[in-house]
């Protein structure tokens, strides 16, 4: 059992002059795989380092297993950490790297041997146990770093951008390995990354952070379908969500959105929420894959049709990314074309009103 709780935790540097985390409250459940995601400098690594005990908590309470650990040194927190640069000891062999923490704990040699061999077998690094880290590839080093954490059988696994130094192919491979490892070990995992694909594919729940503040903490599906604000909507999903300035127009028999010379019928379930915005500007959010090349087949009568000129058409295999302009801004649609589309072609795009996202222009929060 290993829950992690942040209670109004703050973190500042330079005697309080620079505040990185202004006040964080977060609950991580036992055996959960939580990914903290956000842009560079958002405080995600600082949050992880506070759990590890490598950064002191400025104020508030940090609890592991309901025990306040603010002043507990890293070695007594029963955690293990995998670093971005692997941080293997260069003068030790793979075996010694993995056995180091156990040796410090004065665990009997037989037991150390058993644990190292168990981890090496799972991670498929048995043939490299006598090698020094410099004689290993990036992927192998990463597995050794994971093994070093595994042998300690910690309550919490902390992973700080562990895949960012690997090439794309290896990253995909290691991603699934880490997910399987989590299933096998049944331990709490806290994983930090700036890569939203990693977050979406691996996490049970994702913490989206910006400027030290949690923007949303939810399951990957919820974050994708129901982003609470424009930051989350823009951060989750690739290519990112298109944002279009639009005006709400209330009519006798319904509501419409007017943007760049087009009019879009707002679905009925959104009328109540948008009532207060009559005559005002809001932001319309459309994911690139929500543009359709055929009229929607369902009963949804809302939405509209756009006639756009493809400025650039990027073929990505099964799909094509089309860059087009609406007003002064460029947007992107990801479609499955029936015929080849080239730059300069006119394309008809359909939008379904019920799948769109509506944001308050001033607060950037979802309506």
């Amino acid at each position: 059992m290993a829950t992690i709780k942040f209670r109004d935790v703050t973190k500042s540097f330079d005697n309080g002059k620079v505040t990185v985390i202004p006040g964080l409250s977060l609950d991580i459940k036992d055996k959960e795989f939580v990914v903290i995601v956000g842009p560079s400098g958002c405080g995600k690594s600082t949050t992880l380092r506070m759990i590890a005990g490598l950064e002191a908590v400025s104020s508030g309470e940090l609890m592991i297993d309901d025990r306040v650990v603010n002043d507990v040194p890293p070695k007594d927190r029963d955690i293990a950490m995998v670093f971005q640069s692997y941080a293997l000891y260069p003068h030790m062999t793979v075996y010694k790297n993995m056995a180091f923490a156990l040796k410090l704990k004065k665990i009997p040699k037989d037991e150390i041997d058993e644990k190292v061999m168990w981890a090496a077998k799972i991670l498929d690094i048995e043939p490299y146990l006598d090698r020094k880290p410099r004689a290993l590839s990036g992927g192998q080093r990463q597995r050794v770093a994971l093994g070093r954490a595994m042998v300690r059988n910690p309550k919490v696994f902390l992973l700080d951008e562990p895949l960012s130094n690997l090439d794309a192919k290896l990253r995909t491979e290691m991603r699934s390995q880490i997910t399987m490892l989590h299933k096998k070990l049944q331990t709490t995992f806290v994983y930090v990354t700036h890569d939203q694909t990693e977050a979406l594919t691996m996490a049970d729940r994702i913490v989206v952070m910006d400027k030290g503040v949690i923007q949303q903490y939810d399951t990957p599906q919820k974050l994708y379908d129901e982003p609470v604000n424009m930051f989350v909507a823009g951060f989750i999903g690739s290519p990112q969500m298109n944002f279009i300035d639009a005006k709400v127009i209330k009519e006798n028999n319904g509501m419409k959105l007017s943007f760049s010379g087009y009019e879009l019928e707002i679905p009925e379930e959104k009328h109540e929420a948008l009532n207060a915005y009559d005559g005002k500007e809001i932001i319309l959010g459309i994911r690139p894959e929500q543009f359709l090349t055929k009229p929607p087949s369902g009963n949804d009568k809302s939405g509209c049709t756009l006639n756009v000129t493809a400025e650039i058409a990027e073929m990505t295999g099964s799909e094509t990314n089309i860059y087009f302009s609406l007003g002064s801004s460029t947007h992107i649609a990801r479609i499955k074309p029936e015929k080849k589309i080239s730059g300069g072609d006119t394309v008809k795009l359909y939008i379904e009103g019920s799948v769109l996202h509506y944001f308050d222009k001033d607060t950037t929060y979802a309506i």
Binding site: A52, L54, P74, I79, F83, Y89
Partner: protein
């Protein structure tokens, strides 16, 4: 055309290097060849190679060994060198680690003081050092170790700092998470990584301390605790300033032998250490 130019330039460079090597090696070669020649022939034909008339075998070595207190001076020199170098390597590597990792105004000042101490010539401070060495009762083989620790720390801290800057802090953090105290982190993780620089620092300091003449002469004098360079200078002096040159040459050969062996044994690390410190610092 370019190839000829390149070749010509190489010939000039190699010639210059060969001449420079010859100039540096000449005194050693002269000492070597004269150490097995009779006294008369050393002054008569110092540059000639030994032949059946001039060759005296190990006679000079035996004389040098038996008629001077070579062994005692050798032991004093070895004691001072070993303990000074060990002290310098351990204390300066720890100091450099602290200076690099704990960055504040205090450590910055300390670092610049160390660097500044490198550029102050010994001659400028030798009288005050000698005076205080006597005042503090450091004028003995144990005391002089502390003086060497002071003189050797400037360059050593500078070299260690350069290398430590290139070690990712994540390695130290991994050690902390694994359960290391700061002392354990240093001795089990950092110091082994510093090995190439530590060996370089050890070689540079060992060569200097072993061969040093002025400081031990001023502090220890020419009494029973004199070091080897002082002993060689004092030994085998006959009447009217007459010297047994053959035995002197033999003593010189024996005196430089340990440090040459130590250098050859560790030389593969010296380049590694200097480069690592210089490039990544």
């Amino acid at each position: 055309m370019m190839k000829t130019g390149f070749k010509f330039r190489n010939i000039i460079i190699y010639s210059a290097l060969i001449i420079a090597s010859a100039v540096f090696l000449a005194p050693i070669v002269i000492i070597l060849i004269n150490s097995v020649k009779g006294n008369f022939y050393i002054s008569d034909a110092p540059f000639s190679l030994p032949d059946k008339d001039t060759f005296v075998g190990l006679q000079n070595f035996i004389k040098g060994f038996t008629q001077s207190d070579f062994m005692r001076s050798f032991a004093v020199s070895a004691f001072i060198t070993v303990f000074s170098v060990t002290g310098i390597v351990i204390s300066t590597s720890m100091t450099a680690w602290y200076i690099v990792r704990v960055r504040n105004r205090f450590t910055k000042i300390i670092y610049y003081l160390f660097v500044f101490s490198m550029i102050v010539p010994f001659q400028m401070v030798m009288y005050t050092v000698t005076y205080y060495a006597f005042e503090l009762h450091l004028n003995n083989p144990i005391g002089i170790v502390f003086i060497y620790l002071g003189f050797g720390s400037g360059l050593s801290v500078f070299m260690f700092s350069g290398f430590i800057k290139s070690i990712p802090t994540e390695i130290e953090e991994a050690a902390v998470v694994d359960g290391c105290s700061p002392i354990k982190t240093f001795f089990l993780v950092i110091f082994p990584i510093l090995k190439p620089t530590a060996i370089t620092v050890a070689i540079l300091n060992a060569m200097w301390i072993w061969n040093d003449y002025l400081l031990p002469y001023l502090v220890l004098g020419s009494g029973s605790d004199k070091t080897l360079p002082v002993a060689v200078q004092m030994a085998l002096t006959g009447g009217y300033g007459n010297k047994d040159m053959g035995a002197l040459m033999a003593m010189l050969v024996l005196a430089i032998l340990p440090i040459i062996i130590f250098y050859l044994f560790c030389q593969k690390y010296i380049i590694k250490g200097v480069v690592a410190g210089a490039v990544k610092g």
